[in-house]
């Protein structure tokens, strides 16, 4: 029985508006980088692959079959893991359980999305169906509208301001210019963010992340194998996954994501760590308000003080808890199925000391918070070097 599971290799494509290649080629790029990162593993060393994608964006039916074929992973088992934007975190959880149960030793978790495969209208239509299609979509409830409703409630309850929301974008745009794989390579000033057009009040254009194309890959291994593969394994020490009502009518609060609170509780308990023990974090900033709620849901500050945390620049490098120093979803881009894997890659590089210009000095513990849709699925994973 393998008690400990490590990430032994990570890879990611650049996140772009339109990648210009097929999904098999996109996944190959991330897979190749992760396999090389894992000390030049070959496909025969991989015991199973978990492909992570939100399939309503795919033209290919059952893409796991095609991708496993293209990556040379036949005849090993492969299948799709889906939890919308949290798909690759869920894939990681499944991979970890395979290894801990001794069913497999080495598992590849490959997340991807080619969102440019759909027209803008097709993409909107799918996003519209991300809420309860019986009782909410019929009124025109888009993904940003839900987060705008969370933002309005948060502002009313805690006095959070539009300027504080904009500051989250300012931070993410600063760090995305230091990440060559990020989609946006230009810093956005506070003034520009605040003057951008309103999409759905109070959220403006720069409060929203952008659809992207991209793939991510991580190689997971049990302790014995991991130590043979690499001198710098990054251990998964805490795992939390929770769900919440899809319909807003079923939620007790709309200024917090209960699935994130519960997933965080589970992960901290398993890792035997407290929020103050985390040195660097990746949170699911699909909208600026989502990052503010994540600060509070994860206990990085008290409830209602998320706006103050960004005002005080405590989530910048050098602050108390650096968050999304790779640009986050807001500025790095958000290819749904690939996002969790990209967040994990960032934390793995940080804990190895390989994060270059955005290295958080002495980072030994890291956390990844990845949310599915409008807060249906919440995943929190804690890592240690």
């Amino acid at each position: 029985m393998n008690n400990r599971v490590a990430v032994v290799g990570v890879g990611q494509t650049a996140f772009t508006r339109s990648c210009g290649v097929s999904i098999r080629e996109l996944c190959f790029e991330a897979f190749k980088e992760a396999m090389q990162d894992a000390g030049n593993l070959s496909a025969k060393d991989v015991d199973a692959s978990i492909i992570c994608s939100a399939p309503e964006y795919d033209k290919q039916r059952s893409p796991s079959g095609l991708i496993a074929e293209y990556l040379g992973l036949n005849p090993k088992p492969t299948f799709l893991a889906e939890a919308i934007c949290a798909s690759s975190s869920v894939g990681t959880r499944i991979g970890l359980s395979f290894i801990r149960s001794s069913l497999h030793q080495v598992v590849a978790v490959i997340g991807f999305q080619k969102m440019s495969e759909l027209t803008s209208a097709e993409s909107q239509e799918r996003m519209l169906r991300g809420g309860d299609i019986m009782w909410e979509s019929p009124f025109g409830a888009m993904m940003p509208a839900y987060y705008a409703m969370f933002a309005r409630a948060h502002m009313n309850q805690h006095g959070t301001t539009e300027e504080q929301l904009a500051k989250v974008k300012v931070k993410s745009s600063k760090y995305s210019t230091m990440n060559p794989k990020a989609m946006y390579q230009k810093e956005i000033t506070l003034e520009k963010a605040l003057k951008s057009r309103v999409i759905t009040s109070p959220l403006k254009l720069f409060d929203c992340c952008a659809n992207a194309d991209g793939a991510s890959c991580m190689i997971l291994a049990g302790e014995d194998v991991a130590k043979k593969i690499t001198d710098t394994p990054v251990w998964i020490t805490g795992l939390g996954l929770a769900s919440a009502s899809m319909s807003l009518t079923g939620r007790k609060t709309v200024s917090s994501l209960s699935c994130a609170v519960e997933a965080g509780r589970q992960a901290y308990e398993m890792a035997d760590l407290k929020p103050d023990d985390i040195h660097v974090a990746e949170v699911h900033d699909c909208f600026t308000i989502a990052e503010i709620m994540a600060y509070e849901d994860l206990g990085f500050c008290k409830r209602g003080e998320g706006g103050k945390l960004i005002d005080d620049e405590e989530t910048y490098i050098g602050g108390r808890i650096p968050v999304n120093v790779d640009g986050g979803l807001l500025s790095k881009g958000h290819p749904i199925g690939a996002t969790g894997g990209s967040q994990i890659r960032t934390i793995v590089l940080q804990l190895r000391g390989d994060a270059g210009k955005t290295q958080v000095d002495g980072a030994e513990t890291g956390l990844v918070h990845n949310i599915g849709g409008i807060g249906l699925y919440g995943s929190v994973i804690i890592f240690r070097r």
């Binding site: 979509s137 019929p138 025109g140 409703m149 009040s201 079923g250």
Partner: protein, 135 residues
């Protein structure tokens, strides 16, 4: 069948609670109540979440409630026309509703916690919905 008339655009035609639309056409916003354990459901459910009973009855709601949160969308997906305001309200029976806020309420008049009234509204093409108005 029957549920396809509900809302601005419908995605579902068949449901055990399709009679909700009939009640709406009669001017009534109805919830379901579990006959076995008494739990009230809105949006209506055909199956009790607590005791798993399939035996539910229709109960009219007062429509009185308070605004919890809202957003005005200035960008609409295909099939919808912006701007429109989406809102979440808590009704006095303790259940919540997600719907549109009436266009008669101007954005600068909206305050969270304000008293609201949920009313049936007929739309073009024999469609029907409900919306929140200022009480």
């Amino acid at each position: 069948m029957g549920f396809e008339k509900f809302g601005e655009v419908s995605y579902i035609t068949e449901t055990k609670v399709a009679d909700f639309v009939k009640h709406l056409e009669e001017g009534e916003i109805a919830a379901t109540k579990c006959k076995a354990c008494g739990k009230l459901f809105f949006p209506p459910r055909a199956n009790c979440i607590d005791c798993l009973s399939n035996d539910v009855e229709w109960i009219p709601l007062s429509g009185r409630g308070k605004l919890i949160t809202y957003t005005t969308a200035y960008f609409a997906p295909a099939g919808f026309e912006a701007p429109y305001t989406l809102a979440l309200a808590e009704l006095e029976e303790g259940v919540r509703v997600f719907t549109r806020l009436s266009k008669d309420v101007k954005e600068d008049e909206i305050e969270l916690g304000m008293n609201m009234r949920l009313v049936p509204v007929r739309l073009a093409g024999e469609r029907i919905t409900y919306e929140l108005r200022k009480a």
